[in-house]
């Protein structure tokens, strides 16, 4: 009798696991449809400086899918929570060469490459997997726009900047494929599934 119940339960359980949706991730953002082609939203060219004071451009990421976020070191509000979630992503994919993490400071005046280096060291992460980028403030805020992240200076906001805690998943063609609210661990659970899904596209 018992064995039947267990079998039925196992079958039910396996049915649940089949529920995952196998359709590919959409390409997010506005699509311009011309006569011949659909033009998708794309992350534009950029050139920033990482924690080792080296330039990083799109070409350094051309074979990678990457997860980005925006933060600043003295941030008293949501940043540490988002960093904790970024660490989850890092821990899961740190050994997968395809995946990188890209954190942009929105406070380049204070968060110099040297400070970002120390910050990375305290996070115990591998600099070749997770880059911390700084640069011209205007360019950083512009690229935040391209990732659909609200980020701007606001003297009234805690720490002097107002920004959202979004985590963004971008593919090798610079298309945005998924978002997560970095302050919400359950949303990040789904995001990890989305990253796996995108990786399937590169599995061949």
């Amino acid at each position: 009798m018992k064995i039947y119940i267990i079998t039925v339960l196992l079958i039910l359980l396996s049915m649940c696991s089949c529920q995952t949706d196998s359709s590919p991730l959409p390409i997010l953002g506005r699509h311009d449809i011309s006569e011949t082609d659909t033009v998708y939203h794309r992350i534009p060219d950029f050139k920033f400086i990482n924690q080792d004071s080296n330039y990083v451009t799109n070409s350094d990421l051309k074979d990678n899918i990457y997860i980005s976020d925006f933060f600043f070191m003295s941030c008293p509000s949501i940043c540490p929570i988002v960093k904790k979630q970024m660490l989850r992503v890092y821990d899961k994919y740190k050994d997968n060469d395809r995946v990188k993490l890209v954190s942009h400071t929105i406070d380049p005046k204070r968060d110099t490459p040297e400070k970002l280096k120390k910050y990375a060291q305290k996070l115990n992460i591998d600099d070749s997997v997770w880059m911390f980028l700084t640069g011209e403030k205007g360019e950083i805020l512009d690229i935040a726009d391209d990732y659909f992240v609200a980020a701007f200076e606001d003297p009234d906001a805690p720490g002097g900047f107002d920004h959202s805690g979004k985590m963004i998943l971008t593919d090798t063609k610079r298309h945005i494929r998924a978002f997560a609210e970095g302050t919400d661990p359950e949303d990040v659970d789904q995001f990890l599934i989305d990253i796996d899904k995108l990786l399937v596209e590169y599995a061949q």
Binding site: M73, P76, P80, I81, K83, K122, N124
Partner: protein
């Protein structure tokens, strides 16, 4: 049959009471204040973020350490080796600080070390 049912209910009630008492929080106010002022950096469970934001949930029973907490809450902390400093939370009163300390020590860390308001007040007077 009915007796068995009653017994089953009774046992499950007792078991669930035991489980609930494990999660019982003595310093509710302290917990609320911790959630309002500290979780963004030290996390809900006190686990912190790597070495950037220290964890608060594995305190050892040490009088000197407990005595340091009220001053850290009020004046912040900027150790030589740290990358990020903690800015003091000047708006918290003595009573609130005392509540937070007791929540941290007694509830989060399950150490039986109640700190009285008088103790916290005299510690705060001597902060550097």
């Amino acid at each position: 049959m009915r007796n068995k049912l009653i017994l089953a209910f009774g046992i499950s009630a007792i078991v669930s009471m035991i489980f609930m008492s494990c999660d019982y929080v003595n310093y509710k106010q302290g917990q609320g204040l911790y959630e309002a002022n500290c979780v963004t950096c030290h996390m809900q469970d006190g686990s912190g973020v790597a070495e950037l934001y220290p964890s608060l949930n594995n305190m050892q029973s040490s009088k000197t350490y407990f005595e340091a907490i009220p001053c850290i809450i009020r004046n912040g902390l900027n150790r030589q080796e740290s990358v990020i400093e903690m800015v003091g939370l000047q708006h918290l009163s003595e009573v609130e600080i005392n509540n937070i300390v007791n929540y941290l020590v007694n509830d989060m860390n399950k150490l039986k070390q109640e700190q009285t308001l008088q103790q916290t007040s005299s510690i705060l007077l001597k902060c550097k």
